[in-house]
């Protein structure tokens, strides 16, 4: 099937929808999405969206910018962070104007609450900056954007899976996707493509990420010679439900929840005396691991307690109703009466496709754009999160840079023509699907995936060292071999979700290769990347972004400088 559009957006979470809304009216635009848009993972975000509205106390975007830069351990590009924090304010008002039902202050303004790493006056004390709708802020953002999409008659291709990215004459020419309902392969010929496919948390065993978060956009781009930036930085959220990984929002601590070890001690006092439980996520996750290592996990096991008993039923029911429900449903305990078992859970890829301030994908150390190709949201790396993202900033990122990508692409499609398609544009995708559907291998995809997730958790998780990472590289070579023998039992064309999962798995292995190569090369500890064998941050050696390229010889790394404007790197203490 051949379709032609001015622009195609891949992914219908916050970034994709925001891009679509800003492109609407500029041309013939389609959004293709693996899920129904309303199922996207933006909807799982809970605690809020950060913006210095100052509704409850003094606040400034410069403070927000400082917190974001420091939270990211000075690896973020500060020109991008400035845009993020300035435009956050108008973005939140725009959402409100579109109908987002924010929680309200007594005088009717948008309610705000404290969140990890967000401070007043450059680190003095926590500040109320997170704008929220109970603890389902992401749900309300996703719904509001989708509603605007309906109002603006955005054209959706629901349940289409991205298979390939078309590049011709050094420019983007479109994408190839699988229609799940019919099994047909579609070629979308487009002047501009915006990738907004989200993250890849499913490469880890314990994760807050949806089953759909398999890094499809990252994998497809990587195969087409586009690098992935800073993949070694993967955030583990400190409070996932024990074993399940389901997220319990930082809002629980923002509202006053406390982390305790087996002795009932508020151990964050020892790790971050000023911000305590509201220190950035990388620090809290490491603190939990250290407590466990030193035998202070609950019952000697690998979890600690999140204690919200003292918050009372009103706060839990009014401000944290969803996570209260999760605890009751999945643990069978009442958080009013018992502390909640939690452990760090793989949550967010700081890395992704390198982009400039307009959301254009750039492909080398000199930030040369690939004309017509854009990326926004978790699939991208602007980089605003640096080595560790602050809570609430992912929602700001998807909206601010989704909009910028949409706007720039809007201009681009007015000024440019279609690039001719490469010969047989859907050939590689057809070959891939036919090969999988006719193969006679005997490896179960699930067994390969289980090994990948367990090993990544163990060797490329919160703490890393050379020995484990080298072993992981070996493991990935084995998994690649096994994947060549993968079997697909379902030979049908219609809604072949098994085929879909097998295709996803191939990409997950390749993304992991990029992540591990970056982690092994980076001989320092910065933000979420913590090397046991190199425990200190090394600015002279490593204040730089990594770029991982896939080559026939394996992953090759290049590096590019960090943009520093307002805040010189300092030691990071809370």
């Amino acid at each position: 099937m051949y379709q032609r559009y001015d622009a195609v957006i891949v992914g219908a979470g916050g970034a994709g929808l925001m891009a679509a809304l800003n492109l609407a009216g500029h041309g013939h635009v389609a959004v293709i999405s693996k899920l129904y848009p309303i199922r996207s993972h933006t909807g799982a975000a809970q605690g809020g969206i950060g913006a210095a509205l100052g509704n409850l106390e003094e606040d400034h975007w410069e403070w927000h910018m400082f917190d974001t830069v420091k939270g990211g351990d000075y690896l973020a590009d500060q020109d991008a962070v400035e845009i993020l924090c300035r435009e956050a304010v108008e973005t939140v008002y725009e959402l409100e104007h579109w109908g987002l039902p924010f929680s309200r202050t007594p005088d009717g303004k948008i309610a705000q609450r404290p969140f990890g790493g967000h401070t007043r006056e450059y680190g003095k004390a926590p500040v109320r900056r997170s704008c929220y709708a109970a603890d389902r802020t992401g749900h309300m953002i996703l719904q509001t954007l989708y509603q605007q999409g309906i109002k603006n008659q955005v054209h959706f291709y629901n349940e289409f899976h991205l298979l390939d990215l078309l590049i011709e004459q050094g420019r983007c020419a479109g994408v190839v996707a699988l229609c799940l309902a019919t099994g047909e392969i579609y070629t979308f010929h487009a002047k501009a493509v915006i990738l907004a496919t989200g993250g890849c948390g499913r490469i880890y065993r314990v994760t807050s990420n949806a089953l759909a978060l398999t890094g499809d956009g990252m994998a497809v781009a990587l195969r087409r010679g586009i690098p992935l930036e800073d993949m070694e930085f993967f955030q583990f959220h400190p409070t996932g439900i024990y074993k399940l990984g389901i997220l319990l929002s930082e809002a629980a601590r923002g509202e006053g929840g406390i982390l305790r070890n087996r002795d009932g001690e508020r151990f964050m006092q020892r790790y971050a005396p000023t911000l305590l439980d509201l220190a950035p996520r990388d620090m809290v996750s490491r603190a939990i691991y250290r407590e466990v290592q030193q035998g202070r996990g609950i019952d000697g096991k690998n979890y600690v307690h999140l204690d919200v008993r003292h918050l009372g039923s009103e706060v839990l029911d009014q401000k944290l109703p969803d996570i209260t429900d999760f605890v009751r449903t999945y643990l069978g305990i009442d958080p009013l009466r018992e502390p909640v078992p939690v452990q760090p859970t793989a949550h967010y890829a700081m890395g992704g496709l390198p982009t400039d301030l307009e959301g254009r994908v750039v492909i080398d150390e000199k930030n040369t754009p690939l004309p017509g190709l854009y990326a926004a949201g978790e699939v991208a790396c602007v980089s605003v999160h640096g080595a560790n993202r602050l809570g609430t900033n992912s929602l700001v990122d998807i909206l601010v840079f989704g909009r910028r990508a949409g706007r720039h692409a809007g201009k681009y499609i007015e000024e440019n023509d279609w690039v001719p398609l490469p010969p047989s544009p859907d050939g590689p995708a057809q070959d891939l699907v036919n090969q999988l559907l006719s193969g006679n291998g005997n490896e179960r995809a699930a067994a390969i995936r289980d090994t990948l997730q367990d090993e990544m958790m163990d060797k490329a998780g919160v703490f890393r060292e050379a020995k484990g990472l080298e072993a992981m590289q070996q493991k990935l070579r084995e998994l690649r071999q096994r994947y060549r023998q993968v079997k697909v039992e379902d030979r049908g064309r219609k809604y072949n979700t098994e085929l879909l999962e097998v295709i996803e798995l191939g990409g997950m292995i390749e993304i992991s290769e990029a992540l591990v190569a970056g982690a092994l090369a980076r001989q320092e500890s910065r933000g979420a990347h913590s090397r046991e064998d190199f425990p200190k941050r090394d600015d002279p050696g490593w204040l730089k972004h990594s770029l991982a390229y896939q080559t026939p010889k394996g992953i090759e790394l290049k590096f590019k400088p960090v943009t520093i404007t307002k805040f010189e790197p300092k030691e990071r203490k809370y």
Partner: protein, 232 residues
């Protein structure tokens, strides 16, 4: 524990009619029904087909008929279903493959009620004001995740597929009772038809089915009341 899953299977590419597949799964009582379905798909029969994504009750992908009642497979723990559980697709929508149904008609109905804020007055520079009390009035209906569990549990919907259904009314309610919205009249008019709210016979199946605990029947009642008492 050992659980036997009895799953209604149907693949129109090869089956003439639906059949029951039985699968025995060894699992922890605290695991989700979705985990058991995943186990079957991943380790027993790769052709088993259903939708799923977030696996914790917020994306709305995996609504299905579980032991005769609509629920999300990721919010049902195995210990609550016993050693044998029957799993079927939701009723009232066309079955495409196994547990996966055609959701297009469902989303079409959602779109019919104009599910977006309608305003004509000038947009302020900052936020529109809304008191916590005004916000509270429609809080319950903002929780909807469009999983279709309510609509496909409704006998009025089974009897008349033209009925807009509880999910669409819940989403209309979310705007009708939002103090910022100015589209109340046009939305009420859409629902003031024989296929609108009046087809609701207050059977309460929807309340029972909602995985978000929304009091759906009350919301529909409030919309009916708004229609009866509205200024003409």
């Amino acid at each position: 524990m050992k659980v036997t899953l009895k799953i209604r299977r149907f693949n129109p590419e090869k089956d003439e009619k639906p059949w029951w597949g039985e699968y025995e799964v060894e699992a922890e009582p605290t695991e989700r029904l979705l985990d058991a379905l995943n186990y079957v798909k991943w380790y027993v029969d790769g052709t088993l087909t259903y939708r799923r994504s977030c696996a914790h009750g917020v994306c709305g992908s995996d609504a299905m008929l579980i032991n005769g009642r609509n629920a999300l497979a990721c919010k049902v723990l195995l210990k609550s279903v016993g050693n044998k559980v029957t799993v079927e697709p939701m009723r009232g929508l066309r079955v495409i493959k196994d547990l996966l149904v055609d959701l297009e008609p469902f989303f079409e109905k959602y779109k019919q009620v104009k599910p977006y804020l309608i305003t004509h007055s000038l947009t302020p520079e900052k936020e529109r004001m809304q008191s916590p009390k005004e916000r509270e009035v429609f809080d319950d209906t903002t929780r909807c995740i469009l999983c279709a569990a309510c609509t496909t549990s409704c006998p009025s919907f089974w009897a008349n597929p033209e009925y807009v259904g509880p999910a669409a009314i819940v989403n209309a309610h979310r705007f009708i009772f939002d103090s910022r919205d100015e589209g109340r009249e046009e939305r009420l008019e859409i629902l003031n038809s024989s296929d609108g709210v009046w087809r609701c016979r207050t059977i309460f199946n929807c309340v029972d089915a909602c995985p978000r605990g929304i009091n759906v029947t009350r919301a529909i009642g409030e919309v009916k009341k708004a229609l009866l008492f509205r200024k003409v």
